[in-house]
């Protein structure tokens, strides 16, 4: 049986002028449609915290929604490597960053996003 997987790309320009609460809402609206969000850029640390809080609030209310898998990738990996990117990740998390990619998928579809110094694996549910 064929399984459909939908990725939704959000360019940074679409969230740049939104208030924090609306950025989180926009992402979760897509995730709740069982789509994986690829966001150009990243949320700042407090927005990521709000995303987790909102996710948990929804998981407690919406049947079959168990949360999300989340990872941020800095794309200039050739120069720095994922290991160095992780070190820089916290600093960048403070202000948000346009040159990153954020992957957010519903836990019902994305089993796990594994981050290691060498690679990032997106594991889907069978």
């Amino acid at each position: 049986m064929e399984k459909k997987l939908t990725l939704s790309f959000i360019p940074y320009s679409e969230i740049a002028k939104l208030a924090s609460v609306n950025r989180v809402k926009k992402i979760l609206d897509i995730v709740l449609k069982n789509r994986i969000v690829i966001l150009q850029g990243r949320l700042d640390a407090t927005e990521e915290g709000s995303l987790i809080q909102s996710t948990m609030a929804l998981a407690g209310k919406i049947k079959n929604f168990k949360g999300v898998e989340l990872a941020v990738i800095q794309p200039n990996g050739n120069k720095e490597g994922v290991f160095t990117q992780f070190k820089l990740g916290i600093a960048r998390a403070l202000v948000g960053s346009r040159d990153a990619l954020t992957i957010i998928g519903p836990a019902a579809i994305v089993k796990e996003i594994k981050r290691n110094p060498e690679k990032i694996d997106l594991m889907l549910k069978g």
């Binding site: 809080q53 609030a57 070190k87 836990a107 594994k114």
Partner: protein, 213 residues
């Protein structure tokens, strides 16, 4: 007279550590099952004789914030009074089916999951009330997770001093070096909260970061 001068001198020195605060709020944060409650219990038992909460192999045993006030800790002649705040594990997903593997019945597992989601929300809300935070990580797990970055990012944004603990060093596969590599800008201490291993170094670091408040 001399005694009074000396007493006042020490009061000034240690008083400045608190900047007028009688006790420092210290939060234990981290992903589920890293050993936050085990560490909080270790401190509570050592200094008050009582525990703060129950521990379990089943994730999300702590589902609401629990605290112990006026915990006076003495280390190398210095004394600090803490309010210990043990928080629920922070996660981005909670699936009741994960609890079924531990033999919990479906209804209880669903209730546990519901309470755990509320616990995560509550834990993040409490961040604003912390003076110092100990981020407790399982030294057997991969430290490169987004939840860890998000927790530390939020603490840095709030200018809260952070101490990273790599717990469970009593287990063979524990990798403290990996945690240190993941957080090179932070003080990392490898401990076993369960067996009280390396607590001297933990207290040393705790007193050190408490000075930053």
């Amino acid at each position: 007279m001399v005694i009074k001068i000396i007493t006042n001198f020490f009061k000034r020195i240690f008083g400045s550590l608190f900047k007028g605060k009688e006790e420092l709020s210290i939060g234990f944060y981290g992903p589920p099952n890293a050993g936050k409650t085990s560490l909080a219990n270790r401190l509570c038992k050592d200094w008050t004789g009582e525990e703060i909460g129950s521990v379990s192999k089943i994730p999300h045993e702590t589902r609401s914030v629990q605290f112990k006030e006026k915990v006076e800790i003495e280390f190398k002649g210095k004394k600090l009074t803490f309010k210990l705040i043990d928080t629920p594990g922070i996660a981005t997903k909670i699936d009741y089916e994960d609890f079924l593997k531990f033999g919990i019945k479906k209804k209880q597992a669903q209730q546990r999951a519901k309470e755990a989601t509320q616990g995560v929300i509550e834990a993040i809300k409490w961040l604003d009330d912390m003076d110092v935070v100990v981020v407790v990580l399982d030294a057997l797990e991969n430290p490169y997770s987004q939840v860890n970055i998000t927790i530390i990012g939020n603490l840095v944004a709030r200018k809260i001093p952070v101490l990273v603990v790599a717990n469970k060093i009593d287990l063979g596969k524990a990798d403290v070096k990996k945690v240190e590599s993941a957080f090179p800008e932070y003080e990392v201490v490898g401990i076993s909260a369960k067996y009280g291993k390396n607590m001297e170094e933990f207290y040393e670091s705790l007193f050190k970061i408490s000075k930053k408040v």
